[in-house]
Amino acid sequence: MTTTTTPAQVIETTASHGSLAERVKGLQSVWILGVLVVIVAVFGVLSPTTFLTAGNMTNIMQNVSIWAVLAVGMTFVIITSGIDLSVGSVLVVSSVVAAKTMEALGGQGWGTALIGLVLSVVVGLAWGILNGFLVARAKVPPLIVTLGTLSVALGIAQIITGGLDIRSAPDVLVDTIGYGRLAGIPAISLIALAVVVIGGIVLHKTRFGRYTYAIGSNEISARRVGISVDRKLVQIYALSGLLAGFAGILSLAQFGTTTIAGQSLTNLNVIAAVVIGGTSIFGGQGSMFGSMVGLFIPAVLQSGFVIIGVSPYWQTVAVGAILIAAVYVDQHRRAAASRGKGVST
């Protein structure tokens, strides 16, 4: 055949032509952010003097801080098409170990607090590694692994404490981290923000993040190109565990007690936030920013409803309904914005 060679062509190497408006619209998380803004605006109008106050906003921020830390790890895990149901229990067991040790050490100062912090993080990390190992090497489905470790971790926390919460966080922890403020912003929120920003950078800018997406997008392909998928999975679950451990010490600082019987809805709340934020539980897509918006929607709804005085039962109804509506709007706006998906994709 006498075909000619390469037809000269220019290959597009950057996604960033088009107007700024177009680029912004292209961002996945913009629509859900829009939903959040609308919700805030509605409550603002309904109750301007109480809802839209700096005090209320900082309270909301403070109250999502611990979940935000967990959501960072959860976002990584869900992008790999996994799930981590154990975060709440790992948080509890980490804080129990830390509290027990700090109690034994006595001291209310930074020295004791630091030891507690390190211990909490190490315990969380250990659980995460266990989860990762069972998922990656033993090939047990993540749902079962983390449901199992949820139970085991909680049981261990109960054994250590005899079922009674330990209420002895060093004062310095509670005063500076739990309730301290910097320029009016709660310290705990600043810490969470730092974790989120670092998590976002790692997810979106580094090789580690790229591999996270690759594993969720097509695990076989990731293996074939030589990514040691098992090791990465262990690392990702370890990260989630580590952050749960870190959240454990934050929780201790915030509440001054281990919350053994609490945290039972933490895993579902965090998973819901991540999914509301546009991360698919089938993996391969999602963003840190989306998860954060997804965290704020239920929190803002709850705060708003309490302030305007909706009764708890109606709140339950309204939060559920608005959740579905928010994700519906997000999905449809997004689809309309790109129109990039045929039936076959």
């Binding site: 109750s47 109480t50 809802f51 106050t53 005090g55 209320n56 309270n59 909301i60 403070q62 109250n63 611990i66 109960q158 079922g163 009674l164 919460d165 209420r167 509670v174 739990g178 309730y179 929780s251 915030q254 509440f255 001054g256 007690t257 919350t259 053994i260 019987a261 609490g262 945290q263 039972s264 809805l265 933490t266 929190a299 709850q302 705060s303 708003g304 309490v306 302030i307 305007i308 005085g309 009764s311 708890p312 039962y313 339950t316």
Partner: protein, 301 residues
Amino acid sequence: AEDTTAAAGGSDNKNIAFVQGVAGDEFYITMECGIKEKAAELGYTVTTQGPQKFDPTLQKPIVDSVTASKPAAMLIAPTDVEAMQAPLEQAAAAGIKVVLVDTTVNDPSFAVSQISSDNVGGGAAAFDAIKAAKPAGGKVLVISTDPGISTVDARVKGFEDAVKADSAYTYLGVQYSHNDPATAANLVSAALQKDPDIVGIFATNLFSAEGSATGVRQAGGKDITIVGFDAGPNQIKALEDGTVQALVAQQPATIGSDGVEQADASLTGGTVTPTIQTGFTIITKDNLSGEGGDAAYKSSC
């Protein structure tokens, strides 16, 4: 300590917020009834809020939002003595009169008053009820919800201490039903399989009692005394039906109306009683028509 601002002391703010330990629980609903009745009498409006579980991590955000909504007073059943300390201090600092009802916190000095039930005593009373029904002694079991819930733990402790002080009875320990009646039923039927000679079960809350009764019935309806806690309409009905044999009743409606009185006193400059302790009553079929019946919680507001 605060200047009299509209939010704090002004007589135009007639809003009282009631924060339950957990939403949808008969004990707190009865308390709400007491609160509403007294509030109507004194000219206050009440909004009620509560977390989905008895869990400080879920109650704190609600308290924060209630604080932001600036009611004149807040009646609250704190879910943890330590965890709720700081958020409630914040509420008090914002000029809200805080009244602790049912449960308390480590340092309640910010509160205008605390009105509490004696859960440890309630647990001991539950044992007394079993003792009354089964004086010969034998094995006794506790079915509870989850470890770490302060009020329930106190009941268990009171019960345990009382059993251990009486050598005629053998304490089989506590099993946790996670507030799921099916799990409670499974636990009780298995426990009966192991120890068919159990004479009494202390079920620390409604679902534990329901599940225990189911479990006992499954095992062939043995003669076992089930003592429940609280005396809401359902528990009373269960007592009438013979599903449970005795109930330990607290006084939620009284706690509620006392709470409103205290809040009102502090808002209007009346005399405030800083601590009020309420008692409990054992209700059995026998005293239902008399003392026991009076102790039963109100069925509706």
